[in-house]
């Protein structure tokens, strides 16, 4: 076990205020650039929302630089995104049509906003029949700016840059779970995770194969129709017969169980780690993504604190022995921040492990935070604007 005082491979990170500010300046400028259209064209509420988003994202990035920690500050952004997105989204639905349910007329006219979760289901029909099995529009329209091309483009860019870190920096649904997992002080079902975690983390792959096969043969987005818990906080097909009534019941139950109750009891992102087929799909891109988390075996004392802390059970004894995470690692940084021996480090593939890990972390964070500001930050701004709109003295 190498002594921590030997800093030949891992020098201490200088976290001075000046340096932190300097490192934050690019993000601050980027945020200003992203929200310039809001200042030029939007109303007062959205301008306030934009200012709030700029300050919020910049401040969190500064704190990441100042403290050297990633997970805690990322989580604040992510939970805010998770809880505020439904606010803005539902407000816009209610304002437009008075209900969260999607009437069939909107599906028929291609006005359903595209959700990235359906992407794996689309692949086989699109590849073999050139058909998109989603009631949206391919290109953006006035009534549907969240078209298939736009959303898939966003997803593709995120995935190229971040791999499965999409699940830590973009997916607002994960933010909801992370919020519920953060509430309790201690976990109550620890033994459940220890005993079943290694098996449960394969369930998303099974669901992925199931929805891909099912969507290919039924020519309908099986996950959206039957399994998506997040219709509870976004929109859902209007209940018009027994089948849609059953679907309604299923997604409410899944949301209550997987997104609220189990994260609260286990302090894990149970929907993300043990159910979400899109997460399994994203895991594939970790194979080609440049950024990862590795373990310096010379420093690791096998305390398993990282394993206990990991929100999606992406670490096993075997993988840590090999110095790696499992394929479903979403690069949230929890294990790096909790490791007392600095054995868990950020790593750029192709470079030596644990040599200048802070450089790898910075390169990763700049890309991640730039995209998070562009995507999540704009959602936050819109949600804040919507909330201001609710105020009686607006």
């Amino acid at each position: 076990m190498a002594s921590r005082s030997s800093n030949l491979t891992h020098p201490p990170v200088f976290r001075g205020v000046g340096r932190s500010i300097l490192l934050t300046v690019p993000i601050a400028l980027w945020s200003l650039l992203m929200f310039t259209p809001a200042f030029q064209h939007a109303g007062r509420n959205l301008r306030i929302g934009a200012v709030a988003a700029i300050l919020f994202m910049t401040a969190l990035f500064f704190l990441m630089m100042r403290t050297g920690e990633t997970y805690r500050w990322r989580r604040i952004f992510f939970v805010a995104l998770g809880f505020l997105f439904p606010v803005g989204f539902i407000a816009s639905l209610v304002a437009e049509r008075g209900t969260m349910s999607i009437p069939i007329s909107r599906m028929v006219s291609g006005d359903t906003p595209f959700c990235f979760m359906v992407t794996p289901s689309l692949l086989v029909p699109a590849a073999f029949a050139r058909t998109i099995i989603f009631p949206g529009s391919i290109l953006p329209t006035a009534s549907n700016p969240h078209s298939i091309a736009v959303m898939i483009g966003l997803w593709f860019a995120f995935t190229l840059v971040l791999g499965k870190a999409w699940c830590s920096y973009a997916c607002f649904f994960g933010g909801i779970e992370e919020g519920f997992a953060a509430f309790p002080k201690r976990r109550r079902l620890h033994k459940f995770i220890t005993r079943w975690g290694s098996r449960l983390r394969l369930v998303p792959w099974a669901i992925l194969l199931f929805v891909v096969l099912g969507s290919a043969v039924l020519f309908e987005p099986v996950y959206c129709m039957w399994l998506c818990p997040f219709k509870t906080v976004t929109e859902f097909p209007a209940v018009r017969n027994v089948e849609t009534a059953i679907q309604f019941g299923v997604f409410i139950a899944l949301f209550a169980g997987l997104v609220v109750a189990l994260p609260f009891l286990t302090k894990k992102r149970t929907q993300c780690g043990f159910f979400c087929p899109f997460g399994a799909f994203q895991s594939l891109f970790n194979k080609i993504n440049l950024f990862e988390i590795r373990f310096d075996r010379a420093k690791c004392v096998d305390c398993t604190l990282c394993q206990t802390t990991c929100p999606t059970v992406a670490l096993s004894s075997e993988s840590i022995r090999e110095g790696k995470t499992l394929l479903n690692c979403m690069k949230c940084g929890a294990c790096v921040d909790v490791c007392k021996k600095d054995a868990a480090v950020w790593h750029l593939k192709g470079t030596p492990v644990a040599v200048k890990p802070e450089r790898a972390r910075l390169l990763f964070l700049y890309g991640a935070w730039a995209l998070a500001t562009m995507f999540g930050g704009s959602i936050l701004a819109n949600s804040v604007a919507a909330m201001i709109g609710f105020l009686p003295w607006k």
């Binding site: 098996r199 792959w205 099974a206 194969l209 096969l213 099912g214």
Partner: protein
């Protein structure tokens, strides 16, 4: 002349089978994929299992062809028995998937080594002919759309042997579409893959079970 009309009939059946093969594949493929993934890898094992599956599927086809011809009719769209049959077959398929693909209940060997969570359900099943036969037969009588189209044509033929021959060639046309499944024999069987395949089998069983029950309830309620 008889030989010509028989060969024309066979040709028609073969072409119909080839043309509607993708739909057959869509019908049976979701059953075949997880079931084959829980078998040990190896093209020889897979060839045997697929052959048994297809043979049992053919038996299902021929049994139905014979019944159709003897009844002397097609299956009318409004035939109430269709839902009963559909529902029952789907329920049986769900059970067969759980037993043969998911592997429940599992036979526990007294000498089984203590395992990590994945090893037991992650072990490939020894190839069981009964599984191939059961799944093949049940998918064969599942009344998929191409089957019904072939049934309409077969029921119009003059003799029982012509009807059976029609279904034989129809089956051959659809069976060609199953050949690519042999490539699953090359996929390396890791405990994780086998576990995932078993889980998919359970999910499919839930789907078929749900479909079967709703069909039966619908028929019971609405007649």
């Amino acid at each position: 002349m008889a030989a010509f009309s028989l060969s024309a009939c066979a040709g028609e059946a073969l072409v119909l089978g080839l043309a509607t093969g993708p739909v057959c594949l869509a019908s049976c493929g979701p059953v075949v994929v997880p079931w084959m993934l829980v078998q040990p890898n190896g093209v020889r094992v897979h060839s045997r299992q697929l052959l048994l599956f297809l043979t049992a599927r053919l038996a299902g086809y021929l049994a139905f062809a014979a019944a159709l011809w003897l009844v002397g009719s097609t299956i009318p769209r409004s035939w109430p028995g269709r839902s009963w049959l559909f529902g029952s077959v789907q329920l049986l398929l769900a059970i067969a998937l759980v037993v043969y693909a998911a592997g429940f209940p599992r036979r526990r060997c007294a000498l089984a080594k203590p395992s990590t969570d994945l090893v037991q359900i992650g072990e490939a099943s020894p190839p069981r002919s009964s599984g191939a036969l059961a799944l093949g037969f049940l998918t064969g009588i599942n009344l998929c759309p191409p089957f019904l189209v072939a049934g309409v044509r077969a029921a119009q033929l003059a003799t029982l042997s012509a009807s059976l021959l029609f279904f034989l060639f129809f089956f051959a046309g659809t069976a060609l579409w199953f050949v690519p499944f042999l490539s699953l024999g090359f996929v390396r069987r890791t405990p994780a893959l086998v576990t995932v395949a078993r889980m998919v089998a359970v999910l499919l069983a839930c789907w078929y079970g749900f479909s079967g029950i709703t069909n039966l309830i619908e028929r019971a309620l609405y007649g």
